[in-house]
Symmetry: C2
Subunit: 123 residues, 2 copies
């Protein structure tokens, strides 16, 4: 029997996520991971000293604050936060995101705060 | 004056692309590139011996054929073709894609066919 090839459907994956700020891995490309996350409200300031981080908005309007400005990212839009740049995601209303970053990157960077989510959890 | 931070809007980028099968770079994350491409019809069989390749469908319905099956990928869906696996993208009707792969990867892999697009062209 032929192997089943199955696309990854973001809505299907999102429907299985019940908590905010808990990224879930849906795919890997080489040593990078694709993570789906639901967010609402304010996060903490942090950076990723070792890597850029990509945000693709699926639904809602995301704001990422920087110390010298901000970017607003809506559905069908993306933004790459350069490595080492402190940032703080903010969602006034619920936002669904696709994150892309190397395997092993923590959501809070190197801050080790209590907002740090369990890493490398697949859904 | 504060620097301008600007999201990358896929529709805006797509509106500037006039040719099929010509990927255009819209962003970089570390040594990876995000490419927007409009496709229609049949491509050639090829593989990428050195890397996985990610397809995210923005609009339309993409089929990727493998020698032992196929996958159908619609809007809001993604698929990662593993490195070294021969594949052939096909779009019965026009499809808009976001491709993610390391900088330097050719659209036809190592086949060097006349379908090879100019690489590393930004839009």
């Amino acid at each position: 029997m032929a192997p089943q090839y199955q696309a990854i459907n973001f809505s299907d994956k999102l429907s299985k996520i019940t908590q905010f700020w808990q990224p879930r891995v849906v795919a890997e490309m080489n040593d990078y991971q694709f993570k789906i996350v639901r967010i609402e409200g304010d996060f903490i300031w942090h950076d990723h000293p070792e890597t850029d981080e990509t945000f693709i908005v699926l639904t809602g309007q995301l704001r990422i604050d920087f110390h010298d400005g901000a970017v607003s990212i809506g559905p069908g839009e993306m933004f790459v936060v350069p490595k080492g740049v402190e940032h703080k995601p903010y969602a006034e209303h619920e936002v669904h995101l696709l994150l892309i970053e190397p395997r092993g990157v923590l959501n809070t960077g190197h801050t080790g705060a209590d907002r740090t989510a369990q890493n490398d959890v697949w859904i």
